[in-house]
Amino acid sequence: MFTAAPHIPVDSCSFAVNHPADDLVATVDTLAPTSDHELMLAVRGGELDALGELFERHHGPLFGFLVKLTGHRAAAEDIAQVVFERMLKYRHTYRDEGSFTAWMYHLARRCASDHFRKTNAAPHATDPVDLQHHADERPDAGETASTGDDHALLHTALARLDRDDREVLLLSRFQELSFAEIAGILECSVGAAKVRAHRALHSLRMVYLKLQKEPLT
């Protein structure tokens, strides 16, 4: 499913997300940095400690993805835990030619589906308390109220999308994933993944604009 995909350089893209492994590159030259793929192959081979390093590199973006997907921090934390547990449990299914990030989000999507099936509910509309919490967590304390409102609006807009739309949209924002990989995660064709990402962005824009005109009460 995750065959090597042609990678288009993303350096010039103005929306590039920070790559968590980037800050590991500038290190003392006695230690060769190990790629995610090598680490996961080590885990597959029984060196389970290597999963700790993968956790350190990836749990932040994964958690962020899950919070935005589910709209719930607690649920996101539970699902993230299950994702890493499944990496351990299904480590033998990791492929030689695999991409770790794609595999991780593939597992995350499955785990999130299981979670939604179990709780038998779409993500709840945004809880204002939760939102406030998010705004407070901004590292820059001098944030203007309007920026906070913007985040709140977008959060609500995301929550109003269909889960499929939200999923493809959030995945498409990870610049390190190619659309071939996104298609693999979503188990659809590359063409379908692109069309879905387009459509989801249009939907988000519509809801977001509508909310901007009639703000939260």
């Binding site: 288009i8 400690d49 749990h59 919070v67 935005k68 967590e137 985040h151 824009r205």
Partner: protein
């Protein structure tokens, strides 16, 4: 293309991965169609806002649970309870530093800190026990008041050391939970570069030597401690770390350190190591040699 078709394709202008052959045509259309241009602007603003959404961080529970799951799986891997996995050569592999159970690294920092504190307690006790012996015929003159004052001083001293040891526990938890070995190594190298390190820096280095899972980090920490071998706390830290050290390379370096600092207190530990059949042959020989040099 009609305006409707153009709008369908707008997202491809916002993502290099979606580059389309029609980009030139779409751009030309935007230049002459304010409605489509407005739609493009709002799409772009939506994406910018989406990417700027704050990234929440999980509670420390997540890390604890995931590491516990890893440790449990390692335990299961080493101790196959059933015959479900008859071919389990992994379990027979001798426990190396890198192959150690994560439980070791989760539980060990606390145990090690306790050991260090114990080491200081014993060290402090041994000083008043041996000191009077070397003093020539002065023993009967010690008054109860003087002894009391000495005890007070000792207690105060000890408390100071124990305080700094509790920082050590903080060090180890912080280091092992949240930083990669490269980052930890960088921390050690930074500490080593400090010309007049304070107690905390010294403690961090001892902490790295005693507790860091990476042999490379431990070696560098030991190296950084050399200029401070005159401090009792440094020698005691090396001495306490020695019996727990698994890497022969680090063990031998520690022995060299103790010889260089002429630490007589090291004799029992070195005797034990030289007689330990489990220890690496080179390590045993280094220990024997060190005993003749002390």
């Amino acid at each position: 293309m009609t305006c409707a078709r153009i709008r369908e394709h707008l997202p491809s202008l916002l993502d290099d991965r979606l580059a389309t052959a029609a980009a030139r045509e779409i751009r030309a259309h935007l230049a002459g169609c304010p409605d489509c241009e407005r739609e493009f602007t709002t799409l772009s603003q939506t994406l910018i806002a989406l990417d700027a959404m704050p990234a929440p961080t999980p509670s420390p529970r997540l890390r604890a649970r995931v590491y516990a799951a890893i440790a449990a799986e390692q335990h299961a891997l080493r101790n196959p309870v059933t015959s479900a996995e008859p071919a389990a050569p992994v379990a027979r592999k001798p426990a190396t530093r890198s192959g150690r159970s994560l439980w070791f690294w989760l539980v060990q920092p606390l145990a090690a800190a306790a050991l260090l504190v114990l080491g200081f307690t014993l060290g402090n006790r041994s000083i008043p026990a041996t000191a009077p012996v070397t003093l020539p015929s002065a023993t009967p003159t010690t008054t109860p008041a003087a002894a009391d004052a000495a005890t007070q001083r000792e207690l105060a001293d000890l408390r100071k050391k124990v305080d700094s040891m509790s920082q050590l526990v903080g060090y180890s938890l912080l280091q092992q939970q949240s930083r990669s070995s490269n980052e930890r190594l960088r921390g050690v190298l930074t500490s080593a570069a400090v010309e007049k390190p304070d107690d905390k820096t010294i403690n961090d280095l001892i902490g790295a030597l005693a507790l860091d899972p990476s042999a490379n980090v431990r070696l560098n920490a030991l190296e950084a401690l050399y200029p401070h071998a005159d401090q009792e706390v440094v020698r005691a830290g090396v001495l306490t770390s020695l019996p727990r050290e698994q890497s022969p390379l680090v063990q031998i370096s520690m022995i060299d350190f103790l010889v260089a600092s002429r630490d007589r207190e090291a004799t029992p530990a070195l005797q034990k190591l030289s007689a330990n059949p489990q220890a690496d042959l080179n390590v045993r020989e280094a220990a024997k040699r060190a005993l003749t040099q002390l």
